[in-house]
Amino acid sequence: MKRAARLVAWLCALAGAAPLLAAVIHPSPPRPADSGDPRQSGTHFMSAATQAMQQDDRQNPAMLWVAGGETLWQTAAGKASRSCMSCHGDAKTAMRGVAARYPAYDSKAGKVITLAQRIELCRQGAQQAPPLAPESDDLLSLEAYVGMQSRGMPLAPPQDEQTRAAAERGRLRWQQRIGQLNLSCAQCHDDHWGGKLASAVIPQAHANAYPIYRLEWQSLGSLQRRLRNCMNGVRAEAPPYGAMELVELEAWLALRARGMPLETPGVRP
């Protein structure tokens, strides 16, 4: 399906998806003043207008992808001609809390995988469907739809040895200076959050709203796209989508944000 055609299809789906839009306005995440927790979601660093766009599902452009994901969830695909729903049932119950637990060690894959990779395993394995390209609308839609089912739930990264070890390797990467500009993630996001890098306010970089609709991209994008942006910014080599380096950074970010409520799908400037 052409992109424009699909958008129209989604708009229609969205119009028909009344239950999806029932509780459209959801409150801001708690501020540190309320909770004593120094961590602040990226939402906190945005303008009031962008915050409002995220908090109102009728204004949040990412809801187009969520609606598309709902359609895909119900659509048979691949040689197996099965839908996600035919195995998992209603996503609202089956997928509740799932996104809050990724990345996670997968014993069959023998490694720590992201939610996007988990979805791909079902696509290619269970549905026998061809792989979805990284950052494709279909993959982002499924990820956003699955993510949405955990909205408001605290991030709960698994505590098993493998997932913790991946997060620890991610933490080391986080602290390593990289690129021609020789900056680490931590130097900006731990040491200088709240400061201004030209016109951009540096957030704490909590990964609790992904995938996000980024106004600069005019599209939905994954956490890995965001991480690669920061790597490009410091003129570092950005690993390809799905690379272990990025998965490990995701695992670290999940641990770093554990307990913070998931806000998927987020909006960012």
Binding site: G179, Q180, L183, A198, A236, E237, A238, P240, E245
Partner: protein, 150 residues
């Protein structure tokens, strides 16, 4: 990923500029906190060119972190001191060292080294072995900074 180095053991990459910098710094910083002589092969710094480099977000990148007396650039950072008065606070030699390799003054600094290629890790291919500014651009920036007075 092929050829990605062990994070705990980044191999230094050496280029001509890097070797030169090492040479310069080992002689210059041993006794002083600056690089007294202009970088080899450069003409005297040009103030106007220096200002243009500092104002340019893709080239100098200075205003990502610093503010300064460049009113036509509205979005200036606040991660570093305002550059106004830089020419009073420091000598040309001190400014030159600060641009070439600020890590020599403050190892924990976030300010990048503008004329150094060694000791970096995971540099994107298109920037590998290249300094952020050329020797002449460093001299131009130093010339401009010297004019900044309160």
């Amino acid at each position: 990923m092929a050829a990605r180095r062990d994070l705990s053991n980044p191999l230094p990459r050496r280029g001509l500029a890097a070797a030169l910098t090492t040479l310069l710094l080992s002689t210059a910083t041993a006794a002083t906190d600056g690089i007294p002589d202009p970088l080899p092969g450069t003409a005297p710094g040009d103030v106007e060119r220096g200002r243009a480099i500092v104002a340019n977000r893709q080239l100098g990148l200075c205003l990502l972190c610093h503010s300064g007396p460049i009113p036509e650039e509205p979005f200036q950072g606040n991660l570093a001191p305002d550059l106004t008065g830089a020419g009073e606070r420091s000598t040309a030699a001190q400014l030159r060292l600060r641009i070439v390799d600020p890590g020599r003054i403050n190892p924990a600094t976030i300010m990048p080294a503008y004329y150094k290629t060694e000791g970096l890790s995971h540099v994107a291919p298109q920037y590998r072995g290249k300094t952020i500014l050329t020797a002449q651009q460093v001299e131009d920036v130093v010339a401009y900074l010297q004019t900044l007075r309160t």
